[in-house]
């Protein structure tokens, strides 16, 4: 096999190239020729094809994502904005945080364990490359129906993969989501979020500056992993006699990643590194072109120095390989020795593969022959940009007109029907306990986890001295996004914002993972455009900038796209984690308040989905100005010690939130349906901008005055009561005779003139039953 070098490319301008098979369009190929003034070599074509792929170039989404910058709210908190590996936010005391979500949907469908594992690995390296120590991960997940055979194939593997990688890396898993919907059956969503912390001075960027600085590749050897993962390349298209088709499955080695973390932090703290970049999608192609493009502009690379796991790899394959656990650092020559010594200490292979130059070109050699000679910007940043056509789907009106009214969807009428409904909803897959999942994740490691599942947000202490910490929540009700993508994105944002505020942290910044179907479908593209517009508008209104994120397109099975799923992550700061608000109520006599207004809101609700399999209607737009006020109340109440507990109200409405609080504390409560309110609406409506707070009696007047001053509805709906177990109940519950502890009961008064109750034990049994029953079968 002869090497397609530059001279050869010049000499054979008409040599046919398999660019279409690499996903490169005719006009894109022509553009590459125009840029270079000749045909690309096969190595150059490989680089352009991966870097100009949807995944790397954001060519369909770019024009929309620009809104995140254009509508950026005024804030001093953002130290590094969109465009870097991850945004960086100032949290005070000289500390900074970086966080980001990424998707690994398709690889996780093919090979659930490795797909999910390498998804975690990839996002962790992104965080590391900013100079931060990764401190926590989260995993928003979506699957087909729980009882579908393929879900039983995919879900356990994904969970084992997320856990297997994260646990072995020593990163606590502090939250996530597990959502089931039929549209995800052939296309599960595996999103992974990582949070990292650093001192301001430790922030690093991916740029290769300083002429003469060395380019050092360190970490795992390069193998054939993931070739064809980023674009559609099959290696034999390069050369019919070439090596056999490479595996597109990337295998993760969390142990290597752990060494990489420690080694990277050590070289950064020793001040040895000028610029740093992780190797993710598009591997060396991406790292070298981005580093060069962001820096002085020129770089010379000797590709044959790259340590290989498989000696038969061609240069094109090495350029595109997505082998995991690799990083690239720009190191001044006088520090190289020390850099290498630290790598040796951690048993990490490090190789000097190149040098920063002043040529303005990225030149790559292979055994003395020049195989790449390109302006790096054209590869990394000036890729194609599409204005994809989009239009509102024809079916959108009919979908929105199909409102879940009482006439359209029969509602429970009697106290006994509502009693039954609570047990059913508590056990519904989307509302059931996710402990089957989260018990497989280490939430304790690093010793700074203050809150993890099932709390509303994950919270970690950043500074042991002061108690400074951060809280992160991710959310998305994709059914609402389907009914109205603009509103749905804002709804997701509001929910994540609320989950952070409920725990007592001040929301600061946003990341997102936009999971959609094919951008070539104008109706999907409309969903996407609307969601981005909604999220950008929403972030402006809430004052929380988008710091980064990820777009995942082509999530569909055949022609059927997934529900539009803009997962939103919100990060908040808390000056002292000691004052966090937990979700478990505890003190007898504490008052239970609902903050916010409850209306007849069932469009996109869990009840309509679970009980009727229905999705329709037009959700009431979330009022973000009001959401902001709610956030202020939650924060002020936490600061002033007015709350003993708090929990947001979202999927499954007030009733589900109350059930979760009772389960978390194992203490009962007496609740009443407010006068003039329909019990069913009170229990299961999903009106936005609500939370439950638990207020000690002696704080009540201060609390109600605070809400009154802000014009915010606060209605007392109950009281914590561990002593409801009277002899009247002994008959109806199984084991109140057993021991002296009274059985804990959740009691609801004023239900069509009656009182209904559940024992916390029966609610727990329902809550814990569903996932194990299916997944352990």
């Amino acid at each position: 096999m002869s090497i397609d070098n530059i001279a050869n490319a010049v000499a054979t301008p008409d040599h046919p190239q398999p660019y279409r098979d690499l996903g490169v369009k005719d006009d894109e190929y022509q553009r590459i020729r125009d840029i270079l003034g000749r045909r690309p070599t096969s190595s150059e074509l490989a680089m352009y094809s991966v870097m100009w792929s949807e995944h790397c170039s954001y060519k369909s989404s770019k024009v929309h994502l620009a809104q995140f910058g254009d509508k950026k709210p005024q804030t001093d908190a953002m130290l590094v904005g969109i465009g870097e590996n991850a945004g960086v936010v100032d949290i005070g005391n000289d500390w900074a945080v970086t966080f980001k979500i990424e998707s690994h949907n398709h690889p996780s469908y093919v090979e659930p364990y490795q797909g999910a594992a390498t998804g975690v690995g990839g996002i962790v390296r992104d965080i590391m490359s900013m100079g931060a120590r990764p401190v926590a991960v989260m995993d928003p997940l979506r699957f087909g129906p729980l009882d579908a055979p393929d879900t039983r194939r995919v879900l356990p593997g994904v969970i084992a993969g997320v856990g297997g990688y994260g646990n072995c890396l020593g990163l606590p898993n502090i939250g996530g989501e597990v959502v089931f919907d039929p549209t995800y059956l052939g296309n599960p969503l595996v999103n992974a979020l990582c949070v990292g912390t650093m001192k301001h001075a430790d922030i690093h960027l991916a740029k290769a500056s300083g002429i003469g600085n060395r380019v050092i590749l360190y970490g795992a050897r390069t193998g054939g992993d993931g070739i064809g993962g980023v674009s559609v390349l099959a290696s034999e298209t390069f050369d019919a006699d070439g090596p056999a088709k490479r595996p597109s499955v990337q295998v993760g080695d969390p142990f290597m990643e752990k060494l990489l973390i420690e080694c990277t932090l050590e070289v950064l703290h020793a001040g040895l590194v000028e610029g740093i970049q992780d190797l993710g999608g598009a591997g060396i192609s991406c790292a070298t072109s981005e580093l060069a493009s962001n820096g002085t502009g020129g770089m010379q690379v000797w590709l044959d120095r790259v340590p290989l796991r498989d000696a038969t790899l061609s240069p094109e394959e090495i350029l595109m390989s997505e082998s995991q656990e690799r990083m690239c650092a720009i190191v001044p020559p006088e520090h190289v020795e020390e850099f290498m010594a630290i790598c040796r200490k951690w048993d990490v292979i490090a190789t000097d593969i190149g040098v920063v130059t002043d040529t303005g070109r990225l030149v790559i050699e292979w055994h003395g022959e020049t195989i790449v000679d390109v302006p790096p910007r054209t590869v990394a940043h000036d890729g194609p940009v599409y204005q994809r056509p989009y239009h509102r789907p024809a079916w959108q009106d009919a979908l929105q007109a199909d409102a879940p009214t009482a006439e359209r969807l029969p509602r429970p009428q009697t106290a006994s029907e509502l009693h039954e409904l609570v047990l059913r909803m508590t056990a519904a897959p989307n509302l059931a306990s996710k402990s089957w999942v989260t018990d497989q994740y280490d939430r304790y490691v690093q010793g700074n986890t203050v809150m993890a599942q099932p709390e509303d947000s994950g919270m970690v202490r950043v500074d042991e001295e002061s108690g400074l910490g951060v809280a992160v929540a991710t959310d998305c009700n994709a059914r609402v996004a389907k009914l109205d993508p603009y509103h749905g994105a804002r709804f997701a944002l509001a929910e994540a914002y609320r989950n952070v505020a409920v725990s007592g942290a001040k929301p600061l910044a946003v990341t997102n993972c936009l999971n959609f179907g094919s951008p070539e479908d104008p109706e999907v593209m409309w969903q996407f455009a609307e969601a981005v517009r909604g999220l950008a508008d929403g972030c402006l209104e809430l004052g929380t900038p988008v710091t980064g994120g990820n777009v995942s397109f082509y999530n569909q099975t055949g022609d059927v796209a997934i529900l539009p799923t803009p997962v939103v992550g919100v990060l908040g700061v808390i000056d002292d984690v000691d004052r966090r608000t937990p979700m478990a109520w505890a003190e007898d006599g504490d008052l239970i308040y609902v903050l916010g207004d409850t209306a007849d809101d069932f469009a996109g609700s869990e009840w309509a989905h679970e009980v009727h399999g229905h999705l329709g209607g037009l959700p009431r737009p979330v009022d973000l100005a009001k959401e902001r006020v709610l956030g202020e109340i939650l924060l002020a109440g936490s600061r002033d010690g007015m709350f003993n507990a708090a929990h947001d109200v979202s999927d499954g409405g007030i009733m589900q939130s109350l059930v979760e609080m009772a389960l978390r504390s194992n203490v009962g409560a007496r609740i009443w349906v407010p006068r003039d309110m329909d019990p069913f609406v009170f229990m299961y409506s999903e009106s936005a901008t609500r939370a439950i707070v638990v207020v000690p009696r002696d704080e009540e007047s201060r609390f109600t005055a605070m809400c009154g001053a802000r014009g915010f509805t606060a209605e007392r709906v109950g009281v914590v009561d561990s002593q409801l177990d009277t002899d009247a109940i002994a008959a109806s519950t199984e084991d109140s005779s057993n021991g002296s502890e009274p059985a804990q009961l959740l009691q609801l008064d004023n239900v069509h003139g009656e009182t209904i109750r559940w024992s916390v034990d029966e609610l727990r049994a329902a809550h814990l039953r569903t996932l194990p029953a299916v997944l352990n079968a």
Binding site: A160, L169, G170, P254, F255, M256, D439
Partner: protein, 232 residues
Amino acid sequence: MTTLTGARIGVVTFPGSLDDRDAARAIRVAGGQAVALWHGDEDLQGVDAVVLPGGFSYGDYLRCGAIARFAPAMQTIIDKARGGMPVFGICNGFQILVESHLLPGALIRNDHQHFICRDQKLRIENTTSVWTRGFEFGDEIVVPLKNGEGGYIADEHTLDALEGEGRIMARYLDVNPNGSYRDIAGLVNERGNVAGMMPHPEHAVEPLTGPSLDGLTFFTSILSALASGVRA
């Protein structure tokens, strides 16, 4: 009260150790001085006792603890442990002690095949070792447990001997989380200086970050033993 400060307890970092910083924190919270030890150094810097922390040393790819056992630091530790130096292995550290044959038996994959993380109730059944002398016999404590290969096994003869000699340090209560024989969560050696346990007491030393403060007693036990010159 005896002063607990002054004692120096080493925490070994192997490649893949994860809870090393946490073990050091627990030692500090208990009033001791934590000394970072590196797996590649035979020199233990004159520490009074050693904690082998949790994690996945060498990825735990072969068997948990199997490769770490051969680290240079371990050669010294094995020697000194035989001479009476207190050593406490937590989770992966327990696995390393078992692989080093400082404690009997073996730890195998959890019977349910999953990694499990839970707040685990334990009963303390040995109060004579330097690591547990601060407990009362029968104390019930709750500390985090997190492992994939925590199933303790040994032959009947060994199990009977362990029970007969009062060397079962802690047993699982309510739930046996991994299929361990006779609900064994932790052990001590004959001499009482070497202890190993799958659950993580170092994650139960602060009110905000653990389910209880019960774990602290392991660390105050050793510090008070060292301070009062108690020898194993």
